[in-house]
C-alpha cells in the first residue's frame, strides 16, 4: 500500500511523457496553486483546532460522556468507546489518542477494543473534512451536510457494535 504513491507518481510522469506535457512547468504551476490553497485553508484550520482544543480542555466533553454512559450501558453499547464516538467526528488526533487508551485499558482483542478499532477504521474526522472542503471554496451555508454526515457517523458506531458481536463473537 505504501507503494501506491511512488507508483502513482511514476504513472503520471510516464503519462505526461507520452502526452508530451512539459513536466516541470506543469508541476511548478500546480504547486504554486497549492500555496494559495494552503493560505486559504489556514484561517479555517486555526480557528477550528483552537475551538476543539478549548472544548476538550474545559472538561465539557468529559461531562457529556458522564451523562450518556447510563443510557449506552442499558443498550449494550460498550461505555468505554463513548468518548471516542463523541470525539471521532471532531478530532482525528484526539480519537487516535483515545483509541490507544482503550487498547491499554481493555486490550486490543477485547470486545471494546475491537468495536473501537472498527469505529476508527470506518469513520473519518467529519468536522475536519467539512471545514477543509467548504473552507477552501468559501461556502458559508452548509445546509444539511452536518445532519447527513453525523447520521453516517452514528450508523458506523451502531454497525461497529453489531458487526463485532455477530462476526467476531464479541
Amino acid at each position: 500500500m505504501d507503494l501506491f504513491m511512488p507508483i502513482f507518481i511514476a504513472t503520471v510522469v510516464i503519462f505526461g511523457f507520452v502526452k508530451k506535457v512539459e513536466l516541470f512547468d506543469a508541476f511548478t504551476a500546480g504547486a504554486k496553486d497549492g500555496i494559495f490553497t494552503l493560505l486559504k485553508i489556514a484561517p479555517t484550520l486555526v480557528g477550528l483546532i483552537v475551538a476543539v482544543n478549548m472544548l476538550k480542555a474545559s472538561g465539557l466533553t468529559d461531562m457529556l460522556v458522564g451523562l450518556i454512559t447510563p443510557i449506552t450501558d442499558s443498550l449494550g453499547f460498550p461505555s468505554g468507546i463513548v468518548p471516542m464516538v463523541l470525539l471521532r467526528p471532531i478530532s482525528g488526533g484526539g480519537s487516535t489518542a483515545l483509541l490507544t487508551g482503550i487498547y491499554r485499558d481493555f486490550g486490543p482483542d477485547s470486545f471494546t477494543g475491537k468495536v473501537a478499532s472498527v469505529l476508527a477504521g470506518s469513520t473519518e474526522t467529519t468536522f475536519y473534512a467539512i471545514a477543509v472542503y467548504f473552507g477552501a471554496v468559501n461556502i458559508k451555508k452548509i445546509r444539511h451536510t452536518l445532519i447527513a454526515a453525523l447520521s453516517a457517523d452514528f450508523t458506523a458506531a451502531i454497525m461497529a457494535v453489531l458487526t463485532v458481536r455477530l462476526l467476531l463473537n464479541g
Binding site: 472544548l55 480542555a57 477504521g121 467539512i130 461556502i139 453516517a152
Partner: protein, 192 residues
C-alpha cells in the same frame, strides 16, 4: 452553520471551563491549539504543494479523464450537475480512489479541486449545492479498503490478529456511507 458551531463551541468551552475550575486549562488550550494548527499546516504544506504539482501534470496530460471514465458510471448517478461535467467528475473520482487506498494526504488536494469545480457549477454562490453536500458527506465517511493505521496500532498493543476486524470495517463503512448519502439526497430540496 460553521459560524454557529464555531461560536457555540468557544462560548461553551469558556463558560463551562471557568464554571468547572478548568479556566487555566482552557487558557492554555488556546495557545497550544493555535500552535498545533500551524504545525499541522506546515506538515500538510509539502504534500499539498507536491500533489497539486503532480495533479497539474496529470490534468495537462488528460489523466483525470481516464480515471474518471472508470468510476463515472457510479458517480454519475450520485451527482446531479457534476455527473455531466467531465472535469468535476474526474476530480471527484480521483479523490474517491485516493480515499479508497487510504491516502488522505493525496485525497485532500483532489477533493479541494473537486469543490472548486462544484462551486463553479453552482454559479459561485456561498451556499452549498446538493452536489457539494453529497461530495463532502462522502469524504466525512470513510471508504478505506485497508485501515493500516488501526492495524498497526492494534499490533503494537499485542493483538493476536490485528486485521481480523477488516470485514466488520468494510460492512460498517458501506452501511454508514449509504445512510449518509441517502440522507444527503433526501434532504436536498434544491430545484434541479
Amino acid at each position: 452553520m460553521l459560524n454557529y458551531i464555531f461560536g457555540s463551541i468557544m462560548l461553551a468551552s469558556v463558560v463551562y471551563g471557568i464554571f468547572s475550575g478548568n479556566g487555566d486549562a482552557v487558557a492554555n488550550s488556546i495557545i497550544t491549539g493555535a500552535e498545533d494548527s500551524v504545525k499541522l499546516l506546515t506538515t500538510m504544506a509539502g504534500m499539498l504543494l507536491l500533489w497539486s504539482g503532480i495533479m497539474e501534470i496529470a490534468s495537462r496530460g488528460g489523466f483525470t479523464k481516464v480515471i474518471g471514465r472508470i468510476l463515472s458510471p457510479l458517480l454519475k448517478r450520485l451527482f446531479k450537475k457534476a455527473g455531466d461535467d467531465e472535469k468535476a467528475l474526474s476530480f471527484i473520482s480521483m479523490n474517491v480512489s485516493a480515499n479508497l487506498l487510504g491516502l488522505g494526504n493525496a485525497a485532500t488536494p483532489f477533493g479541494i479541486s473537486a469543490m472548486k469545480e462544484l462551486r463553479r457549477l453552482s454559479g459561485d454562490s456561498d451556499t452549498a449545492s446538493g452536489d457539494m453536500i453529497m461530495f463532502v458527506v462522502m469524504n466525512t465517511a470513510s471508504i478505506q479498503i485497508m485501515p493500516t493505521m488501526v492495524g498497526v496500532l492494534r499490533q503494537s498493543y499485542g493483538s493476536t490478529a490485528p486485521f481480523d476486524i477488516l470485514p466488520c470495517v468494510w460492512i460498517s463503512s458501506v452501511v454508514a456511507l449509504t445512510v449518509g448519502l441517502t440522507l444527503a439526497k433526501l434532504l436536498n430540496k434544491e430545484k434541479s
